[in-house]
Symmetry: C2
Subunit: 126 residues, 2 copies
């Protein structure tokens, strides 16, 4: 792992933003600060950062893929505004693990991970 300008800028961008960003968002932000990186480079850096465990890839069921800094409260879910596309974190582990055990038994399905998203309108868009 080398510390290159793109890598540094990318981590800085992700650490400033609380909402997970798409590759396109990130590319735009890089260009906005006059760092004209190629999209291939951005994708490769995101891959590499993910493998290092520094970021997490968030795949939403609206088919958007976003990236967020790893670290804090690592497992959480998302509130996605269908109007402005803003994404916020939300904690929701409460009953899930217990219910997952029920599912595993009744469906004979070994759960490795889950994904849960709430789509709706954020405060500003209501």
């Amino acid at each position: 792992m080398r510390s290159t300008p793109v890598r540094k800028a990318l981590l800085k961008i992700l650490s400033k933003d609380q909402a997970p960003l798409s590759a396109f968002d990130i590319l735009a932000k890089l260009h906005a600060q006059k760092l004209l990186a190629n999209k291939t480079t951005v994708y490769r850096q995101l891959d590499s950062l993910e493998k290092q465990g520094l970021i997490h890839t968030v795949r939403l069921s609206d088919r958007s893929v976003r990236y967020e800094l790893a670290g804090k409260d690592d497992h959480h879910h998302h509130l996605v505004c269908v109007k402005c596309n803003d994404v916020k974190d939300v904690d929701f582990e409460n009953h899930l693990s217990r219910q997952e055990k029920n599912i595993e038994k009744s469906k004979k399905f070994k759960i490795l991970r889950h994904s849960m998203e709430f789509f709706g309108l954020c405060f500003n868009c209501q």
Copy 2:
């Protein structure tokens, strides 16, 4: 709405299969029964059937999009096998609506719909 060969075959395929099928799956099944429909046609029929409320589009967070017949127990979630890609339905509304109300209040976010998937290993793949 006209009753064309593609439309009829498509509905028949979806009614036979309990797991939601991808557009590619459907196209393959059509070709298997010597109905050489174009992918554009399949996508347009799926669109039209969705608008008529006859089928539902299932967008999973692994970025796959699948289609299933509408009707029965319309709101449910999915168990997705990460090995064989089989998808099964699972009911899980229990605590969700109550918790959604909490989220709406505390996050000032109006929830319109949610999506939940469990990824893991089905019985055959364990």
